[in-house]
Amino acid sequence: MMDFIIGHYNYWIVIVLMMVGLYTVISRGNLIKKIIGLNIFQVSVFFLYISLGTVEGGAAPIIAEGVKVYSNPLPHVLILTAIVVGVATTALALALVVRIKESYSTIEEDEIHNLDHSL
């Protein structure tokens, strides 16, 4: 049982972080805060992938003399790409927030709903 906890606590805390991000996205009406919640969720997914690639006693995947065990480099490659794409989507979302502010002069979801009868 203790072994199981030591072996899995990492995943559980990552899931807690993920759920905090999801909660922020669902329950908060402010659009910037929603985007930050989405980013928290995204970073926890990165943790999940990097955790899966970690090897006990392994070194960073850079070939060096006298190192036998390396961590799995493939999740690192995936997540490097994901981080950069994540920033691109964040920038796009923030640009949409600026446009919403120009059109509705508010970035609170409830107020936008009250203003726009088509929603």
């Binding site: 990492n10 905090v20 930050i36 955790s51 690639g53 923030l94």
Partner: protein, 196 residues
């Protein structure tokens, strides 16, 4: 052992920071806390043997994201108010709590089948990863395997990534580039067209 202690400490800090982000209403403080969150996660990536990811997260996540969010905050902030405070939300908290709890429980149930953290015999470690670790240096001459895969084996993927970033940049420019220079009348016409 020391690895586990550092790991738990950083994860605890991350959890505290994220809960603080949910509970605060001052958006400037929230954006700053998000920068701290990104920096802590960069530290955690180093502990989990991923220095390349840590560099990227520290530069792009803690740096560029925070700057972008601060810039947005400056644009949407009400004039003559020093801080932007989030409006009190009308949603029922318990409903989202239930949704989050159920999703979290399902995900924790899913971890039962995941191999133990750091297991060298996990399926993820025994298939293609070994090929890259053994052959990356002789085949590409690059000692950093992550760079070798990113720039050599999967070079076209990286090209596609550049295309994604280019698309996002074009979209951002189309959305907000040069909009503020247009006169107000034209903007009103545009909105009437949209409504029609």
């Amino acid at each position: 052992m020391i690895d586990i202690v550092i790991d738990i400490t950083l994860l605890a800090f991350l959890a505290i920071t994220s809960v603080a982000i949910v509970r605060m209403t001052n958006l400037f403080a929230i954006v700053m806390l998000f920068g701290i969150f990104s920096l802590l996660s960069a530290g955690l990536f180093v502990v989990m043997d991923a220095p390349d990811v840590a560099f990227t997260e520290a530069a792009v996540g803690a740096g560029i994201s925070t700057v972008l969010m601060l810039a947005t905050l400056a644009l949407v902030k009400k004039p003559r108010e020093p801080f932007y405070n989030e409006a009190p939300h009308a949603h029922r908290a318990w409903l989202s709590l239930v949704v989050v709890a159920v999703t979290g429980a399902a995900l924790v149930y899913g971890t039962w089948d995941i191999p133990r953290f750091g297991d060298p015999d996990a399926p993820a470690q025994t298939h293609v990863a070994r090929y890259y670790i053994e052959n990356a240096l002789p085949e590409t001459g690059v000692p950093n395997i992550v760079t070798a895969v990113l720039a050599s084996y999967r070079g076209f993927d990286t090209l596609g990534e550049v295309a994604v970033i280019f698309t996002a940049a074009v979209a951002v420019l189309l959305l907000i580039g040069g909009r503020r220079s247009k006169p107000a009348v034209e903007k009103k016409d545009k909105r009437e067209q949209d409504e029609a």
